[in-house]
Structure formats: structure tokens, C-alpha cells
């Protein structure tokens, strides 16, 4: 099975989860996702997802100027983003339970 295909469906909730406690800029979010085990995640996919979540009202954004380098764009979660994350957590938990049961060895008799 191709894990990158699976990742597409859950990238939104994964991104929300890693900015739940701390705001982050694009590459920072990529690094958090990779550190959490999603090593295959593409940086452009993450930046696009951040932008889409921002458009949907789940994230806020602000630019932090830098003296010695290019500006960084930070994203933070909104109240709407938090409630979206809560809903998605439940959806995921149910889905994962269902799939685990379905795929458990010996259950398909």
C-alpha cells in the first residue's frame, strides 16, 4: 500500500495537530510532521495545505520580519481550527478502530 496516498487524506488534520500548541512557519511544520514519523511528507504539499486551512478559517497567519534573512510566515490555529481538529480526531479514531478490526488477522473467517 502506498502510504503517500493515505497521507493525502489526513494531511489536514496532521497539520492542525502539529500547530495546536505552537505556531509554526512552513518548514517548521514540515519538520514537526517528519519528526512525528511522517517522513515522506512533501514540503510543497504542507505549504499548500497551510494556505488552504488558512483560507478555510482554521489558521491565522502573520509575517515575522528577519534582519538577516527573508521573512517568515507563521501560522497559528484558530478556534474554528480547534473545533475542526476535535471533530477530525473523533472521525479518525472511529475509522482507525474500524480498519484495525477489519484488518485484524483471523477476523475474516
Amino acid at each position: 500500500m502506498d502510504a503517500t496516498q493515505l497521507l493525502k487524506g489526513v494531511l489536514d488534520v496532521a497539520v492542525l495537530a502539529v500547530v495546536e500548541d505552537d505556531d509554526g512557519y512552513g518548514y517548521d511544520v514540515v519538520r514537526r510532521l517528519r519528526a512525528a514519523g511522517l517522513e515522506e511528507v512533501g514540503d510543497a504539499s504542507v505549504y499548500g495545505t497551510l494556505r488552504r486551512l488558512y483560507s478555510a478559517g482554521a489558521l491565522t497567519s502573520y509575517v515575522v520580519p528577519s534582519e538577516e534573512g527573508p521573512h517568515r510566515k507563521y501560522y497559528g490555529i484558530t478556534a474554528q481550527g480547534r473545533s475542526m481538529l476535535e471533530v477530525q480526531r473523533k472521525v479518525w479514531a472511529e475509522f482507525a478502530t474500524t480498519m484495525n478490526r477489519l484488518l485484524a488477522e483471523g477476523s475474516a473467517a
Partner: protein
């Protein structure tokens, strides 16, 4: 933006990505690529074995993840750009006109005159054909050409009413009109 400390290849890559997103509205593109140099600099400073990917593919991934439409296949053609720009302008004008009460009522008034235009276009067609066959009596059609005119009027009116369809022609003509109308309706709701 302070770009002096951005590696030249990073700056060039970011520029190529923006070029590949050139069909998007400027604001959308800027929002999507703001901070890109900072992110890229960090991503590629951290892992020097990384090589920069193809900017066009990178841009495609960026826009698909952002839920934006993929670039049209005819992206590089100047003609396609002009047609797209013209179509967008026409749509914007229609939306703007629909938003203005006086202009909208004028548009409705002109729309009510459509049957008149159907007759006019039939007459123009009949006149063109008669002229092509060497008939010349100014702009007046007489004798047998009156019959020809009558045929053109029937065809034109039936076509205008949507009773007769010309499979190859009609979707092209009406499809555009419907889409324009839908866009105008959307604009009015907004």
C-alpha cells in the same frame, strides 16, 4: 524583503515557482508563496545532499494541496492567455453590470429585443448570400431573394429559440453563454 542573504539558486527556484503560478490572481499567488524563500533556505541548508526539485512540479504540488485548479494545458500560448483574459474581463463586466440597477435594466431591455436581432441576422445572412451570388440592389432584397430571406428568418428564429440545434455549433455558442450567466448570477448573490 531582504533577499540579499538568500542563495541565488534558492531565489531563482522561488522565481520559477512563481512563474509557474502566474495564471493565478496576484494576491493568491503572493499568499501562496510568501515566506517561500525562508522555508526553502532552511530546508536546503539543513540537508545539503538535497537537490532542488523541478519548480514546475513543485508549483503543481503547492497548488493542488492548496485546493487551487491545475494550470491549463494551453498554458504557454499567448493566444490562450489573451482568450482567458478576455473571457475573465467579459465575465467581470457582466457581473459589474448586473450589480448596477440601471445597467441591468438596460441589459434586460436589450435582451427583450432579441427576436429583433434574430431577424436582423437572418437579413444580414440573406444579404451576404445574395451578394455572393451577384445580386445587387443596394440593401433591398426582392423577388426570389425574399423567399431566401424568409428561410433565413425561420432558421435564425428557431435557432435563437433553441428549437433547432446545430450539434457542432450550439454547445460552443450556448455553453459560453450559460457559463457567463451562471457567473453573473453568482456575482449577484455575492
Amino acid at each position: 524583503m531582504t533577499t540579499s542573504t538568500v542563495a541565488p539558486q534558492i531565489a531563482a527556484f522561488a522565481r520559477a515557482v512563481r512563474d509557474a503560478l502566474a495564471d493565478l490572481p496576484e494576491e493568491e499567488r503572493d499568499e501562496l508563496t510568501e515566506g517561500l524563500e525562508a522555508d526553502l533556505s532552511e530546508a536546503y541548508a539543513e540537508d545539503l545532499s538535497n537537490t532542488l526539485p523541478d519548480p514546475v512540479e513543485y508549483a503543481a504540488e503547492l497548488r493542488s494541496a492548496a485546493g487551487l485548479p491545475q494550470r491549463q494545458a494551453s498554458r504557454s500560448g499567448l493566444f490562450a492567455e489573451v482568450v482567458r483574459a478576455g473571457r475573465n474581463t467579459a465575465r467581470d463586466v457582466l457581473v459589474a453590470v448586473r450589480g448596477n440597477a440601471a445597467a441591468a435594466s438596460l441589459l434586460d431591455f436589450l435582451a427583450a429585443l432579441r427576436p429583433f436581432w434574430w431577424v436582423v441576422r437572418a437579413w444580414v445572412a440573406a444579404w451576404c448570400v445574395s451578394t455572393a451570388f451577384g445580386y445587387s440592389n443596394g440593401f433591398v432584397l426582392e423577388g426570389g431573394w425574399m423567399v431566401g430571406l424568409a428561410v433565413f428568418v425561420v432558421v435564425s428564429v428557431q435557432w435563437g429559440r433553441g428549437r433547432w440545434t446545430f450539434p457542432s455549433l450550439r454547445p460552443a455558442v450556448l455553453g459560453e453563454r450559460r457559463r457567463g450567466g451562471a457567473a453573473a448570477a453568482g456575482g449577484a448573490v455575492r
